[in-house]
């Protein structure tokens, strides 16, 4: 929810609170009015009972008590939060009224009974009953039946009595209708306010949930970033350690400073090219054909001198590093002493992947038409790396042969069964 929407909601709710208050005051005044009217009527009936004990004694007394009870009930039992209690008391009063008025009416033989029942029902229905359609329908049904009964009785009653009864009861009915309408309006307002509050709460909850989600996403991103930084630091330290170790061992085998410079630069450049290619693929790995082109490609002095016939097997970043270094040593060796040292020399590199149980990648390096080669007497760092690194790090197998026609090397490394 935007800020301006929030403000509007607050204003609306303020206006409604004001409206509710006015409604409440009106309702209280109407309630007070009807209570006073009913009390007045009660005084008239009770007074008639004492002043003219010979005229309709029981009916006057019962009507007086009835209106007192109705007035008290209306004054006391309007708390909407105690609807079940009000309902019980209201209908209790009604039952007492029917029994008492019925008895008095039978004894006196006039129209008072249905009139009293009609008024009692109307008041109870308007003020105390739950505002649900079924209860309303039932009340209207009962009141209608009582009204028919009342009218049929009143017609046969002496003129003076029904004028007296109708005259006393009419204002009560008018007030009841008014109070009923007021109550209905009040209920609508309260329900509307409740719905509004619920929807405001719901939108607040939604906004809150969205905020929490954003915070969580932010935390996840931060966590991933921290992990990536740790990983990067780890790689940098390992790379530096590798560079130091490569330098140490290149120096060990170097015959001169320029010899060292050339061999060291070649190794570092190979590592750098592998690093750039891996970083470009988010350290997920490389296809074997791409790796070979990357490492051996720079030693190709014309188009035919190196031919690469490799499959698309995907090589993980860890394997890329050690396999790349191995291939680099083969290439630099070929450029110095083997097939890539002459114009006519050729290197063919092919690969295939065999899966039996676990998947294994075979790479065949084959040199021909170069100068004659023989098994070297001195095993330098390059040779050690070619023959041992893959076996050491990834449980691979390397067979290096110096045949008369050129160097041959068979490499076999395990790779995951899934390939890209």
């Amino acid at each position: 929810m935007s800020r301006s929407e929030g403000n509007r909601a607050t204003e609306r709710s303020g206006a409604e609170t004001l409206g509710e208050n006015q409604e409440q005051i009106l309702l209280e005044r109407a309630r007070l009015g009807i209570v006073l009217i009913m009390a007045g009527i009660a005084v008239v009936f009770v007074g008639a009972y004492f002043l003219h004990p010979d005229q309709r004694p029981y009916i006057n007394l019962v009507q007086g008590i009835n209106f007192v009870v109705g007035a008290v009930a209306l004054r006391v039992l309007h708390d909407s939060t105690r609807r079940a209690f009000n309902f019980a008391i209201g209908y209790g009063v009604y039952v007492v009224t029917i029994v008492a008025a019925g008895t008095a009416g039978v004894l006196a033989g006039d129209a008072t009974t249905p009139l009293i029942i009609f008024v009692g029902l109307s008041v109870i229905t308007a003020t105390l009953l739950p505002w649900s359609p079924w209860w309303q329908a039932l009340s209207v049904l009962v009141i209608t039946a009582t009204a028919i009964w009342m009218v049929s009785t009143v017609i046969t009653t002496p003129h003076l009595y029904w004028v007296q009864n109708v005259g006393s009861i009419a204002p009560t009915l008018v007030a009841t209708v008014f109070i009923s309408a007021a109550l209905q309006r009040q209920r609508a307002v309260v329900e509307h306010a409740e719905r509004d509050r619920c929807s405001r709460e719901a939108s607040l909850r939604t906004a809150n949930a969205r905020l929490e989600q954003e915070i969580q996403e932010h935390q996840r991103t931060e966590e991933a970033l921290r992990f990536a930084m740790r990983e990067l630091d780890h790689r940098v330290k390992n790379t530096l350690a590798t560079v130091q170790s490569v330098a140490d061992q290149t120096l060990r085998g170097a015959k001169s400073v320029s010899d060292f410079r050339e061999a060291f630069a070649g190794r570092i450049q190979a590592l750098a090219r592998i690093h750039i290619a891996l970083a470009g693929r988010r350290w997920e790995g490389l296809r074997v054909s791409d790796l070979i082109e990357l490492v051996v490609g720079p030693y190709r002095h014309d188009r035919e001198s190196v031919s690469i016939d490799c499959d698309e097997t995907f090589v993980s970043s860890e394997l890329v590093r050690v396999l790349g270094m191995t291939l680099h040593e083969l290439a630099t060796n070929a450029a110095k002493h083997g097939a890539l040292s002459t114009k006519a020399g050729r290197v063919t590199i092919s690969s295939s992947t065999a899966a039996n149980g676990a998947s294994r990648l075979h790479i065949r390096w084959s040199e021909r038409d170069g100068p004659p080669v023989s098994t070297p007497t001195y095993r330098g760092f390059g040779m050690t790396l070619i023959e041992e690194a893959l076996a050491y790090e990834v449980n691979g197998r390397v067979a290096l042969q110096f045949q008369g026609g050129g160097v041959r090397c068979e490499i076999e490394v395990p790779v995951p069964l899934t390939s890209a």
Partner: protein, 126 residues
Amino acid sequence: MTALSLAGRTILIVEDNFVVATALKYLIDGYGGSVSAMAPNLERAYEALAATPVDIAVLDINLNGTSVVPLADHLRAQGVPFVFLTGYGDEELLPPHLRGQPRFDKPVEAERLVRALLDLTAMNRG
């Protein structure tokens, strides 16, 4: 002042990177020590220990994603001293009881490492 010498010490190298491991081996060889084996993972390290008893071990904390801690605990139980090699952040892989062990950041300063190896073997013998 006597020159640093690892003569008579048998040392196990546990390091997953071949180039780094061989450089360490040459370093130790250069100081007169004897490297019993280079192991890229825990399995090979246990095999090497079973084949040849060692005076001291050099342990890379993170072996291609696997923690070296079980091996360190094993060595401690056997009374074999050891030092850790770390890249930045690897210390977090160590449980508290191993954080007091000597640690060397990669890339390693040769002389400091050799001195530490000498100190640890001297303590062990003395």
